[in-house]
C-alpha cells in the first residue's frame, strides 16, 4: 500500500510538473469557466430572479463544464511517444496509475474551481461569508465524485475518434448525482438552513465518492491493459 501511494504521488507530481510547463489545459479551463460565468450573468434578467436562487445552479454548471475541459488533458499527455506504455511496462500497479491521475486531475479541477468561485462571488454579488467553509467542503466532496469517473473515462476516450465529444457524452449521466447533491447542499448553505436538511444529500455524495472511486480502481486495469 505505501508503495502504491508513493507511485501515485510520483505520477501525480509528474503530471503537475508537465502541466505547469505547458499550462495549456489549465488556462483554457480557467478562461472557459470565466466565460461561462460572464454569459450566465448577461443571460439572466436581474429583476426576474434573485441571484441567490440561481446561484447554486450557475456555480455548479460552471464547475462541471470547467472540469470536463480540464479532464480531457489527463491521458492526452501520455499519448506522445507512447509514454503510457513506459508506465505500464514498469512494476506499477494499475491502481497507482489511476490514483495518481485522479490526484493530478483533482489538483487541476481544484485550481479551476478556486478561480471560478471568487469570480462567481464577484459577478453575482453573492455573499458567502458564513457559508464558505460548508461550500468548500461540499465542493471537495462532489468534485471527487465526478473527477473519479471523469478520470477513467478520459483514459478511454483518448484512444477514440472524437475524444472531446465522447467525454461529455459518457460523463454527464454520471455527473448528475454529485451535481444535484452539490446544488441542493449549496442552496441550503447559502440560505443558512440547518444541517439536518442536507444530511440525505451529504450521505449521497459520500456514498457516491466511496463507491465510484473503489469501482474505478477495480475496473481501471481493463481500460489500460491490452
Amino acid at each position: 500500500m505505501p508503495d502504491m501511494l508513493r507511485l501515485a504521488f510520483a505520477i501525480a507530481a509528474k503530471d503537475i510538473r508537465l502541466e505547469l510547463r505547458s499550462r495549456t489545459a489549465l488556462l483554457s479551463a480557467i478562461v472557459f469557466s470565466a466565460l461561462v460565468l460572464v454569459v450566465f450573468n448577461f443571460a439572466r434578467d436581474p429583476t426576474a430572479l434573485a441571484a441567490i436562487d440561481l446561484a447554486p445552479s450557475v456555480l455548479w454548471i460552471t464547475f462541471a463544464f470547467g472540469a470536463v475541459i480540464a479532464l480531457n488533458r489527463a491521458f492526452y499527455v501520455e499519448r506522445e511517444n507512447a509514454a503510457l506504455d513506459g508506465i505500464l511496462m514498469a512494476p506499477v500497479p494499475r491502481s497507482a496509475l489511476y490514483v495518481g491521475k485522479l490526484l493530478a486531475n483533482l489538483a487541476f479541477v481544484g485550481v479551476v474551481e478556486a478561480v471560478a468561485l471568487p469570480l462567481f462571488v464577484l459577478f453575482f454579488n453573492v455573499s458567502m461569508g458564513h457559508a464558505l467553509p460548508g461550500i468548500l467542503g461540499v465542493t471537495a466532496l462532489a468534485t471527487v465524485g465526478f473527477v473519479a469517473v471523469g478520470t477513467i473515462f478520459s483514459a478511454m476516450v483518448v484512444r477514440t475518434r472524437f475524444a472531446e465529444l465522447m467525454l461529455p457524452v459518457l460523463l454527464l449521466p454520471f455527473m448528475v448525482p454529485p451535481l444535484v447533491g452539490a446544488v441542493q447542499v449549496t442552496a441550503r448553505l447559502l440560505a443558512g438552513r440547518p444541517l439536518s436538511e442536507m444530511e440525505g444529500w451529504l450521505r449521497l455524495l459520500t456514498a457516491y465518492d466511496i463507491v465510484f472511486v473503489t469501482l474505478c480502481i477495480l475496473v481501471f486495469p481493463a481500460v489500460v491493459d491490452e
Binding site: 508503495d3 509528474k14 510538473r17 506504455d85 513506459g86 511496462m89 514498469a90 512494476p91 491490452e226
Partner: protein
C-alpha cells in the same frame, strides 16, 4: 522460487494471440539465457511486434505464458517487470520534460533506491550530461535516441527487448550501438532483437529466428553464413 543457475532469463511458452478472427501468433515458444542475443526477422505482419509487446508485458497473450526468471509475468504481480527493458521506436519520454526529469520519473516508477545517482550515471553513460536540462522537445534525433537508451537501461534490466533499433542510425552510430549491445551481453543480459537489417547484428547473434504468419519458420543456432541465410530467408518469404 529460485530458478536453477542455467535457466533461461526469459521464456515464452505457447504464446498465442488472436485479434478477433485474425491469428497474430500461433503457439510461439522462446527461451533466452543470460549472455544470449536472439535476433528475430520476418516479413511485415508476421507477428514480431505482437511478440515483443507480449514479452514486455504490454499485451496479454490469448494463450500461453511468459516467464521472467522462472516467474510468470502476470498483470496482478508487478515484480517481474523490474527485469525487463524495452527499446522501441517510441521513446516513452515526455517532450516537455528534460532528460534528467524523464529519467528521474522512470527511476521512481522502478523504485530505484538512489534515484539521483542512477540518473546521473545513466546520463553519463550515453553522453547526455551536457544537455540534461534541455526539454526533450528540443533534442536532435541522435540525442533523442541516446535519451531513449538511457531510459531503457536505467533500471539495469536483465532482459532487454529491442524493436528495430538500427533504424535511422548511420554507420558510426550503429557501431556505437553494437558496442553497447556487446557490453550488455558481457554483463550477462538476455537480449531479444527484432530487425529487418539482420546484417547489423549478425556477428553478435547467438540465434536467429524467422517469424512468419505467427509461427517460427526458421531457427538457426550460431548462425553461419549470412548469404546462405538470406537465400533461405528469401525462399521462405516468397513461398
Amino acid at each position: 522460487m529460485t530458478a536453477p543457475a542455467d535457466a533461461p532469463l526469459l521464456e515464452g511458452r505457447g504464446l498465442t494471440r488472436a485479434f478477433g478472427a485474425l491469428q497474430a501468433l500461433r503457439g510461439v515458444d522462446l527461451a533466452v539465457r543470460g549472455g544470449e542475443l536472439v535476433a528475430i526477422a520476418g516479413p511485415n505482419g508476421a507477428g514480431k511486434t505482437t511478440l515483443l509487446r507480449i514479452l514486455a508485458g504490454l499485451m496479454r497473450p490469448t494463450a500461453g505464458e511468459v516467464l521472467v526468471h522462472g516467474r510468470r509475468l502476470t498483470r496482478s504481480e508487478p515484480g517481474p517487470r523490474r527485469a525487463i527493458g524495452l527499446l522501441s521506436h517510441q521513446t516513452f519520454l515526455y517532450d516537455d520534460l528534460t532528460p534528467a526529469e524523464n529519467l528521474q520519473f522512470a527511476a521512481q516508477l522502478y523504485g530505484l533506491p538512489d534515484a539521483a545517482a542512477a540518473v546521473r550515471t545513466a546520463l553519463d553513460e550515453v553522453g547526455l550530461s551536457a544537455r540534461a536540462a534541455t526539454p526533450v522537445r528540443h533534442l536532435s534525433r541522435g540525442l533523442l535516441q541516446r535519451a531513449a537508451i538511457a531510459r531503457a537501461l536505467l533500471h539495469r534490466p536483465d532482459i532487454l527487448l529491442l524493436d528495430e533499433p538500427f533504424t535511422g542510425l548511420d554507420a558510426p552510430a550503429a557501431e556505437r550501438f553494437r558496442t553497447l549491445l556487446r557490453a550488455q551481453l558481457a554483463a550477462g543480459r538476455a537480449l531479444v532483437l527484432v530487425s529487418h537489417h539482420l546484417a547489423e547484428v549478425w556477428a553478435l547473434a547467438t540465434r536467429v529466428a524467422v517469424l512468419a504468419d505467427g509461427r517460427w519458420a526458421l531457427e538457426l543456432d550460431r548462425p553461419g553464413d549470412l548469404a546462405a541465410f538470406h537465400a533461405r530467408y528469401g525462399e521462405l518469404v516468397d513461398a
